[in-house]
């Protein structure tokens, strides 16, 4: 694919990788306001299943805001208003008949700062399945907890201390615990809001490996400040600037031959 067609893809919102994978999330003409502030301006994008999409951009560009719009976490912020459509599998999640609790059980979230509950490791992971009634009995619940911890690559490290406090783990382990907690409710989509920004490089590498594994089964969106991280883990990259989606396309192309001047300036370190 030459540069010209890539450019055309941005306009229509269909990068190369989208051809092979079904669309999971699509946003159409989304505007988000925080009171007076216009945080997201007329954003339209399609995000594929079973791939990692990275949102990059300078601070305050709206990437986290849009991420939080995908599981309606912005609902908790006073004065936040959204217009337009955000569809999950074709269904607008802002429709009146959408149950936000149900939505969030399908769209899990991992936050910037590891935020395990101040309870045991087991309870942290078991909480989601328990409130959704996913496990029929105790054995099944235990099985789900162990499976989730295994998927998050944490089980081997904590199998002997499942009933000790989750806050006693190291930062990287805590973040993997949060990932285990998110996947315990069998979501289809996992949103990650700068999941490695509070972690050291080794813990970051482990999380990145994990993200790469999880990609096989989930639609993952990751907000990151690190362009290297975006380049390492994602297949698609979206560049946000001042509330607009400047460019969205295949990661390798974005980093080698960005079409927009602003993208180029940002990834070459001229601002941001």
């Amino acid at each position: 694919m030459d540069k010209q067609t890539t450019k055309a893809n941005i306009v229509t919102g269909t990068p190369r990788i989208m051809v092979e994978r079904p669309t999971r999330i699509s946003a159409r003409n989304v505007d988000i306001y925080y009171g007076e502030k216009h945080a997201i301006k007329n954003l339209s994008v399609e995000i594929p299943d079973r791939a990692v999409s990275a949102f990059i951009g300078p601070s305050g560009c709206g990437k986290s805001t849009f991420l939080r719009a995908v599981n309606r976490m912005n609902d908790t912020i006073a004065g936040c208003k959204l217009t337009g459509e955000v569809c999950l599998d074709g269904k607008n999640i802002y429709d009146a008949d959408v149950d936000v609790v149900e939505l969030r059980s399908h769209v899990g979230m991992v936050f910037q700062k590891p935020n395990p509950f101040p309870k045991s490791i087991f309870e942290n992971v078991a909480y989601g399945p328990r409130i959704h009634g996913l496990a029929k009995d105790k054995t099944q619940l235990e099985e789900m907890v162990v499976n989730s911890l295994k998927k998050a690559g944490l089980f081997e490290e904590v199998k002997d201390r499942l009933h000790q406090s989750g806050t006693g783990l190291s930062g990287g382990q805590q973040q993997r615990l949060c990932i285990a907690r998110a996947i315990a409710v069998n979501p289809e989509v996992i949103l990650m809001d700068e999941p490695c920004s509070a972690l050291d490089p080794i813990a970051t590498a482990r999380i990145e490996e994990l993200i790469d594994e999880l990609r096989q089964n989930y639609c993952i969106i990751i907000v990151t400040h690190s362009m290297q991280q975006a380049a390492r883990v994602s297949q698609l990259t979206a560049f946000f600037h001042l509330g607009t989606l400047v460019e969205f396309g295949d990661t390798d192309e974005m980093f080698t031959s960005p079409t927009d001047k602003r993208t180029q300036d940002y990834i070459t370190g001229r601002f941001g």
Partner: protein, 406 residues
């Protein structure tokens, strides 16, 4: 060459710092001295009130004055008086006899009656009766007051062995006009009932209001108005709450006067702002990331609050509540308005019986002229301080116990 020795300008700064430190130290020292003086004074004055003096005398339960069929109606007072007089054959004048009788408390006859009623076989026998001394005699033997009858009291002591013992009456009696009989049980029970009702009403309402305002209510002009008003209510003088209670609970709803029920309602109103403010602060102190984490795995707002935020806020809520409770315990003014200031000799049996509370009891006793009540006042203050200190200790304990890190 850099000169690192002190310059004049620096010495001035250090002097200022030293001065400020010394102000603090002086203030602390003075406070400590005053506090110790106050405590020593109260304890010194109140300590004797926890004890009483008894004399023992052989009393012949004369079947002539105590009927076997109805032992409760016998004239035990006369029996004891006669027995005491019999020990002093040389006291003959009428006024001296009267004086002698005045050393003995009314309670002596009551105690003997209770003993005989419990065991009627004593009638016709001679028993060793433990007779409680009157307040004046008691004060003399405690060495608190010089008596005009010192000579006679000394004589009394030689014939009848006088012993000091812990005054259980102080803990088991209600109020009385006789200082040696006056006890705190009525006031303690009244306080417990009143504060119990206040907490029963104030805690769920206060915490509920705090949770709603902090976690559920949409911020609007109305919530701002409510917030300002709650803060103002916390600063309203407590007597205003008493007037409110008088107008609303007594005059409008017609609830009984002097009852712990009404006192509890008034105190609930009084501590409600304190509880709400403390609970809101405690809820706000829980990191929002915990709630977001719960919402993120699909918990509803209520589940997130009740499963995660509230347990973490609990130590703060409990501390605030117990501090509010301590305030309610020490509150006097609003209870005066609803009639809990009456002289009530009976120990209240339920929330609608007339009652008084500890601080009001202190207020009442401090007003009485008898010297013995001065001591009782100080003793009641000690009891109140002990209760408040244990409430604070519980608050600290609970805080330590439930405090969790995240």
């Amino acid at each position: 060459m850099i000169d690192l020795t002190g310059k004049a300008a620096n010495t001035k700064r250090y002097a200022a710092e030293k001065r400020f430190k010394s102000y603090g130290a002086i203030a602390l020292g003075l406070t400590t001295v005053f506090l110790l003086f106050l405590l020593a004074d109260i304890v010194g004055k109140g300590w004797p009130a926890f004890f009483e003096h008894h004399a023992s005398v052989d009393v012949m339960i004369d079947p002539a004055s105590v009927d076997v069929a109805t032992p409760a109606t016998g004239d035990y007072s006369a029996l004891i008086k006669d027995a005491v007089r019999a020990q002093f054959p040389d006291i003959t004048s009428r006024s001296d006899k009267k004086k002698l009788a005045s050393f003995i408390s009314q309670a002596a006859a009551d105690d003997l009656r209770d003993r005989v009623v419990a065991d009627p076989s004593l009638i016709g026998k001679t028993v060793k009766a433990d007779i409680l001394l009157s307040a004046d005699a008691d004060l003399y033997f405690k060495g608190i007051e010089q008596s005009d009858d010192a000579e006679m009291l000394e004589k009394f002591k030689t014939k009848l062995p006088v012993a000091k013992s812990i005054s259980w009456r102080f803990w088991t009696n209600g109020d009385s006009r006789e200082p040696e009989l006056a006890g705190l049980l009525g006031a303690i029970k009244g306080s417990l009932l009143t504060v119990g009702i206040a907490i029963l009403l104030g805690l769920p309402l206060g915490v509920g209001a705090a949770i709603y305002l902090e976690q559920f209510a949409k911020k609007s002009r109305w919530t701002d108005v409510i917030e300002v008003n709650i803060n103002n209510l916390a600063a309203v003088p407590s007597i205003i709450f008493g007037l409110l209670g008088l107008a609303m609970f007594l005059n409008f709803f017609g609830l009984p006067r002097s009852a712990p029920l009404v006192g509890g309602l008034v105190l609930a109103l009084l501590v409600l702002p304190t509880i709400i403010i403390a609970s809101r602060a405690a809820l706000r102190a829980v990191p929002p990331s915990i709630k977001e984490a719960a919402l993120g795995v699909g918990a509803s707002q209520q589940q997130a609050v009740f499963h995660h935020v509230l347990p973490l806020a609990l130590p703060g809520i409990l501390t605030g509540t117990i501090l509010g409770l301590a305030r309610a315990f020490g509150e006097t003014a609003p209870l005066l308005m609803i009639g809990m200031v009456a002289f009530i000799a009976d120990v209240p049996q339920g929330p609608t019986d007339p009652a008084t509370v500890l601080p009001v009891q202190i207020f009442l006793w401090s007003d009485l002229p008898e010297l013995a009540f001065k001591s009782k006042t100080a003793a009641a203050i000690i009891v109140l301080i002990m209760i408040l200190m244990s409430a604070n200790a519980i608050a600290i304990y609970l805080r330590r116990k439930f405090e969790r890190r995240w």
